[in-house]
């Protein structure tokens, strides 16, 4: 089995290596000017994106008094540890609770969403049944509906069944990913050969077993991509928790920070918590990306080509 997979993945890799050489040679011949200009533009944009994070990093090391009185882009007296301790102990450590909630909503939600989308996309790609295209197009239509537009209807639905202000109110809508289904279908069509499925069936494997032992491995890059998309999507989905949740203990970190931030005019002591809280809250995202980014790239390319 593994030999088949290897053969399949090696082929595109070697062909892209073959095309890369002449292209690189052409780039060398381009003038130094155009390359420097391109470089300069990239440097400017990199700074543009990184300066706010730098500012956040610097600001979170300052005491409340230094925040407005010292250079915003450089350190003054280092107060990072004190700020962090204050943040983590404020209101019985509610911030940590929010982080755990976010990881729960985004991590578990994205995992379940990935499994569902993978199975769904695979079924749409590999099985012929009546209404398949209709079903697929309906799912595709779901991609076009922004999550924000669904928040209020979802709230009214969840109110009917008394599930607002619960973990499920944010979790259940998060495990659905129309875009994931689309990506999984495209990828399954391209990377899971019918012959392989036939072979598995001849060997006596059931459909479910075939999926979980054979197909799912071939779909890993797509699944990781779906997971990342969905993880980031849930993590940043701010509107749904805003509408659904009332108890502070259920907030994800984005909403919790927003709630603090909305009252800093009257309660200025919250300002430093918002700053350092925002800094700490991007760490889980960065870690997730660093761990999974190489798969992410492969998956993205696949989606783009089809």
């Amino acid at each position: 089995m593994s030999r088949v997979i290897d053969a399949d993945t090696r082929k595109p890799r070697s062909s892209s290596a073959a095309t890369r050489t002449p292209r690189a040679g052409g780039a060398q011949r381009e003038s130094l000017v155009s390359r420097s200009v391109a470089m300069l533009i990239m440097v400017i944009f990199t700074l543009y994106f990184l300066i706010p994070i730098w500012w956040l990093l610097v600001a979170s090391t300052k005491s409340r008094g230094d925040l407005f009185t010292t250079n915003p882009l450089w350190f003054s007296e280092l107060n990072f540890w004190d700020n962090m301790v204050a943040l983590l102990t404020y209101d019985d450590g509610i911030y940590l609770r929010w982080i755990v909630n976010s990881i729960g909503y985004a991590g578990v939600g994205a995992l379940v969403a990935t499994i569902l989308a993978g199975m769904c996309g695979y079924a749409l790609a590999k099985y012929r049944f009546r209404g398949r295209e209709v079903l697929f197009n309906v799912v595709l239509g779901g991609v076009l509906v922004p999550a924000t537009a669904l928040a209020l209807p979802l709230f009214l639905l969840f109110s009917q069944v008394q599930l607002t202000n619960t973990f499920w109110a944010v979790f259940l809508p998060s495990i659905v990913s129309p875009f994931g289904v689309y990506l999984a279908r495209v990828f399954a069509e391209a990377s899971v050969p019918d012959e392989l499925l036939e072979a598995a069936r001849l060997d006596g494997a059931g459909e479910v077993r075939t999926y979980f032992t054979v197909s799912i491995r071939l779909m890993v890059p797509a699944l990781i991509t779906i997971f990342l998309f969905q993880f980031v999507g849930i993590w940043n989905n701010f509107f749904l928790p805003l509408i659904m949740l009332r108890s502070e203990e259920l907030f994800p970190v984005t909403y919790g920070l927003y709630a603090w931030n909305s009252t800093i005019n009257q309660f200025p002591e919250l300002r430093s918590f918002v700053l350092i809280g925002a800094l700490l809250s991007i760490i889980p995202l960065i870690v997730t990306f660093l761990l999974l980014q190489r798969y992410w790239r492969t998956g993205l390319g696949t989606g783009a080509l089809k």
């Binding site: 407005f68 915003p72 209020l152 709230f155 009332r246 927003y258 009257q266 309660f267 200025p268 002591e269």
Partner: protein
Amino acid sequence: MRHMKRAAGVAVIATVALTMAACSAGGGSGSGSDAAACEPSDGEVTLTFTSWIPGIEDAVAIWNDANPDIQVEVQTGPSGNAGTYQNFFNQLEAGNAPDLGQIEYDAIPNFRVQDGLENLAACEGIVAAEDQFVDWTWGQVSLGTEDEVYGVPQDSGPMALFYRSDLFEQNGIAVPTTWEEYREAAVQIRALGGYITNFSQSDINQFAGFVWQGDGQWFTNNGDEWTVDLTSDTSITVADYWQDLIENDLVAVYPPWTDEWNNAYNSGEVWTWNSAVWGANSIASGAPDTAGKWSVAKSPQWEAGASAAGNWGGSSIAVFKGTDHLYEAAKFALWLNTSEESLTSLNETAAIYPATTAGLELPVLQEGVEFYGGQKIYEVFAEAAGEVNPDFVWGPTMTQTYADVSDGFKAAIAGDGTLADALADGQAKTIAALEAQSIPVAK
């Protein structure tokens, strides 16, 4: 094979259906008693209470300890206009609003017009409590009526003049007591390179406080119809006054609550701020280098010798339609906002400035404040609280009115139109917004 595939498809659908059924299994009784009377409920009661005041749990914990039969569960969220009001409306629509909620005075008419609030007048002790509150705060929750009460006032924001006493003294400038003197001082300060104050382009409720101080009205409601009057004589007088200061570069126009705004105060560029009592903390945190150099005086007056104060901010605790426990909710709201232990706790944790006359006498509010050179600043505000016009009325769409007037103010500061134009524009848009919601407007 085909059968199997179809079976798999069916299984998926069945799973979805099951999931949905599982969702609806939690369904049960909705709430929705129409409590014309206000009677105690039997047995133990749990009330839900949504607020955004940090540390309000402490005060509620005192109540919960003393009242095992009426437990209150606090839920917190963003400040009213940042989402909590919208949530309240959604929840009212869905029939699952909390029992109690924090509502600022300027939002009460909005909830009242949408029929979202219970009238507490029939509840024990509510009407009798009127005397305990600072006059005008009661007007804000009774909406000018005799027999209706839509909330219990919690805090207030009487306005006074924060000023840099050190700079005024060093430069031999008298602290202005009228708006005319204020302009003269502005000219002198500008000559020294500073600004007397910063005009806020987005704090429209502060501007409303100026109009309020001048005895102006923006809205009136005769029970049937609303009258919108953003362009009354007083309103225009105030607008023209500030327009003149802006045009002559006598006031700074930094966007409020930003770093540059804080910095303008911290660096001593801006000398005064006519603001609410809660602004005392804003200065202390935004301009830490100026500690000990500030004082507080009565706001400048439109007429020499007069003593009128404006108000900026303040909120009440209201009970939402659909509660099953009106009696208990009213009882809790009254306790939270009148008892000394609660008011003390709220002041300690969140610097809440009470709305009761007794609350203004809290020991902590009689002390000198270090940041203000040891001045007993709250005495000034307590006096101002008694000088706020009790009849000021907010409109039912203040969020929209604020936004539209603010757009106009920003344009005016950029040199496009005047503040008075912005008010006229806000007037037209407010009337349109009211009509769009089928709220009767007197023409």
